[in-house]
């Protein structure tokens, strides 16, 4: 399925391949805007490559510094609690084409959306349940990420 992405004037930038606009990098997060035709094979499309560029990729409303939605904020806060602060976050409110595109790509109707190692994990509800039942610590370990909550637990045991 081909997905058309229209560039809005404010997002066009010269000097790049025309594929991405690299936004400011607050707190180590990267904000990009996808502006290209999808290939007919989703896994080889730009979005397909985007989700694999970083171990943890989230599509949210707003930014990690300023989430614009309670559910997106929940994702940001959960990641923060686990000490995950080096991840890619994409603000779907900046680009309605990205917003619809990621819903089509993931076959998931809502935002936020979370990817680990290029694999779709789920939305806010799933991430919260994974956090509550301990699965998130294990999944982060598989990514090579040591959850801060493990250290917090160790400190508690030492007392």
């Amino acid at each position: 399925m081909n997905h058309l992405f229209r560039l809005s004037a404010g997002l066009l930038r010269s000097g790049t391949s025309g594929l991405y606009r690299r936004g400011p990098v607050p707190e180590g997060h990267v904000s990009l805007v996808v502006a290209r035709l999808f290939s007919s094979e989703p896994e080889n499309s730009e979005l397909g490559q985007l989700i694999k560029k970083d171990k943890v990729v989230v599509f949210i409303k707003g930014t990690p510094a300023q989430p614009m939605c309670g559910f997106s904020n929940a994702v940001v806060q959960i990641l923060r609690m686990h000490g995950v602060d080096d991840y890619a976050s994409y603000n779907v409110l900046e680009d309605q084409d990205l917003r619809q595109g990621v819903k089509n790509f993931s076959n998931w109707p809502t935002i936020p959306q979370v990817y680990f190692n290029g694999e779709f994990v789920g939305g806010c509800d799933i991430l919260l349940q994974m956090h509550q039942n301990g699965d998130l610590v294990e999944e982060l370990k598989k990514l090579g990420i040591h959850s801060a909550l493990l250290d917090a637990n160790k400190d508690e045991q030492k007392k």
Binding site: L93, Q96, W108, T110, D125
Partner: protein
Amino acid sequence: MLPLFRLARAPLTSLRLLPLRACSHTPMDRPVESSIRAKLSRTLAPTHLEVRNESHLHAVPAGSESHFRVLVVSPSFEGLPLVQRHRLVNEALREELAGSVHALSIQAKTPQQWSSDPSLAKSPPCMGGSKHDPGMRLRSDRE
């Protein structure tokens, strides 16, 4: 008890066909909620189902049916990971999610999970996202 011939002549509106409810709303007032209940019941045969319209907790006009929380307890979820369970719910409500439903919180449990933890999760506080959401404005403009 009314004689049968009087029942037959009575207009339908005078018959108490709907169960008495504490509130004055009828399914006709909440078409999306009714549709969500019906579709989840039909497709997942839940042993327990809760559908809550949480639109009033968000920055949307009064009376909206845009934000929902559903709790579905069904043996259909046995052996399925969370993401697959949620996909089943999403698929059942595809039409609603393509329409007015902007946000859907899902709890999908097996009967055993529900019996060991019969609690409904709470949604995080709204951060006013719908106010900044051109998609929502467009939708509300169309409605």
